[in-house]
């Protein structure tokens, strides 16, 4: 029997995934309750950012409304659970609702692009936020809704560590599905859409359907994250689903590296965890965080995962400049 040969990059990626999984599984042994909660939040933020990375990074459609889909997933589950429906039935309902609304939000993208599309999605987020806040009879408004942790196969997930493992499993399944999608002809069609829609159309790629799907699948990922977020926090109110959280989700994708598979993992870690680590800096933490983001965008707009490539390119340029300078010196009489 012959084993499939793996390239060095694949071996490195595999080793990274194994090390990361082992580290994440072992993390609760070294963390207090709040640390485990933060890691659960990171896992769910990563799921939502993976969806936005698909829409923005791979398909090139900017969206400033991702937190609204998080809210749709979260409120669908919370409202259905309040009505006595099981979480496990509320979950697909929330995801389907986010998918359907995402599909509808894709229609403006068929007409406008770039900053116009950004504002169209921003307007959509504002609309969803207002509905959540003002329709008290349904959503509880600013008073919110209490959400209990669900049971899984008769086992209560009330423990923070158990629920953390569920969040990790949700992240693993979402990441695997999106990875498979990106390796399929669909993933390549998304890349064509981002690179040049006219070229894509001239090859017969159904630009219209793929644009709508890029929004819908990205929204469904946020719906999944939102559905699991409600029981994580045990309570939901409108605040995590407004414009600022949408910008944070966008920041996760941009910081990590749009169009890079592991970008959302890193971006979500920085946006979710860095402010906590910087708490020692007291009131200065937002200043430090802000400077870090400005510096990153100024010097490496491709995100943190593009830094090694940028450094390698700079080294190559320096080597070639040194080589040509030496050549010129050698040519002198």
């Amino acid at each position: 029997m012959t084993l499939p040969t793996l390239s060095r990059a694949n071996v490195a990626a595999l080793a990274f995934i194994v090390a990361m999984t082992a580290g994440l599984l072992a993390a609760p042994l070294f963390l207090k309750t709040y640390g485990v909660y933060l890691l659960s939040l990171w896992a769910l933020n990563t799921v939502a950012a993976i969806g936005l990375n698909l829409t923005l990074g791979y398909a090139g459609q900017i969206s400033l409304g991702q937190a609204a889909f998080l809210g749709i997933g979260a409120y669908a589950v919370a409202i259905l659970m309040k009505a006595g429906v099981s979480f496990w039935l509320g979950l697909p309902a929330g995801v389907l609702l986010a998918f359907a609304v995402g599909l509808a939000l894709g229609f403006p993208a068929l007409r406008v692009q770039h900053h116009y599309l950004a504002f169209a999605t921003l307007g959509f987020n504002a609309l969803v936020f207002l509905v959540i806040r003002n329709e008290e009879w349904l959503t509880g408004g600013n008073f919110g809704i209490r959400v209990a942790r669900p049971e899984l196969l008769g086992h209560s997930l009330r423990s923070g560590i158990d629920y953390y493992h569920v969040c990790l499993a949700v992240l693993a399944v979402t990441a695997l599905l999106v990875w498979l999608l990106l390796r399929s002809p669909w993933g390549r069609a998304f890349a064509c859409l981002r690179d040049n829609p006219i070229r894509a159309e001239s090859l017969g790629i159904d630009v219209r359907s793929y644009t709508l799907l890029a929004f819908a699948i990205g929204a469904a990922c946020a719906g999944v994250a939102g559905a699991f977020l409600a029981p994580l926090v045990n309570f939901i109110d409108p605040s995590p689903f407004g414009l600022v959280p949408s910008i944070y989700l966008l920041l996760m994708v941009i910081i990590g590296g749009p169009g890079r598979f592991f970008g959302p993992f890193l971006g979500a870690a920085i946006v979710t965890l860095l402010p906590e680590w910087l708490r020692v800096a007291d009131v200065w933490y937002l200043v430090i965080f802000g400077i870090f983001v400005v510096a990153l965008m100024a010097f490496c707009p491709g995100g943190l995962l593009a830094v090694p490539e940028k450094v390698a390119a700079m080294r190559a340029a320096r080597r070639s400049a040194r080589g040509s300078a030496a050549g010129q010196a050698g040519a002198r009489p």
């Binding site: 002809p185 390549r188 064509c192 690179d195 070229r199 159309e201 001239s202 090859l203």
Partner: protein, 243 residues
């Protein structure tokens, strides 16, 4: 000789501006017809309108006698009309193989796609060698070969190609033209837009010189190339002034 493409009184443009002003000409089957003209004469607009990227406001477009005006690109690809736009048309983040595979998006049959891909890679050994590499790493000439190879996946009846020589070294241009000549001899009808008039008309069967969205001159390529009025077309002043 049968007509592969026939345009009659076609009016088309972008927004408020009209580029094609009642354009009528025909391209014969199995021949290379080249569209020439000054910048802004409407050459690329003709290809975009025929391929359905731009909807004609008036007039008719027929392919082998069947009306195709206003059809979507996907429907036209299914009928064997393929378009290679101007400039670099590859997706740089994808591999050569994946770029090639995209040409068969409308085939819908994986086994057929694989067979056709094998045939194209057989025809272009350099692409086969670099099939798993990034498309952006190919030279300009190889990229153009890949674009043409991608168009061949659908075994086109009519190939629309916009300025295939742009940005290529003269030796590579000769290779691309030889490839197009071979395709025409195998029965593919080609409607090409070119700025490189002398070289393009040297390998074409027929030429259509556009002036402000209408036909200025039309006829066998050698005859159009020898026409003294061709200079007026590119230097301004118009054909009427040149007599």
């Amino acid at each position: 000789m049968a007509e592969a493409l026939a345009l009659a009184d076609v009016v088309a443009g972008y927004g408020q501006s009209t580029i094609l002003n009642g354009l009528s000409f025909a391209a014969e089957a199995g021949r290379i017809t080249t569209l020439i003209g000054a910048n802004g004469a409407g050459k690329s607009t003709v290809l975009k309108t025929v391929f359905g990227l731009l909807r004609p406001r008036q007039g008719s477009i027929r392919m082998h006698g069947e009306p195709i005006g206003g059809l979507e690109p996907r429907a036209l690809l299914a009928r064997g009309l393929v378009f290679v736009p101007q400039g670099r048309n590859l997706f740089p983040t994808l591999t050569v193989r994946h770029n090639l595979e995209l040409g068969g998006t409308t085939l819908g049959d994986r086994a057929l796609l694989r067979r056709r891909m094998d045939a194209v890679l057989e025809r272009f050994p350099r692409l086969r060698e670099r099939a798993e590499g990034q498309a952006s790493a190919l030279s300009g000439g190889e990229q153009k070969m890949l674009e043409i190879g991608r168009a061949l996946l659908l075994e086109p009846k009519v190939l629309l190609i916009d300025e295939p020589s742009i940005g290529l070294a003269p030796k590579v241009v000769a290779e691309v033209y030889a490839l197009l000549r071979g395709l025409a001899e195998s029965g593919v009808s080609i409607l090409m837009v070119e700025q490189n008039v002398r070289a393009a008309l040297g390998m074409s069967d027929a030429a259509v010189a556009l002036e402000q969205g209408r036909v200025g001159l039309m006829g066998p390529a050698a005859q159009v190339l020898a026409d003294t009025r061709i200079k007026a077309l590119f230097l301004g002043g118009g054909l009427a002034a040149a007599g």
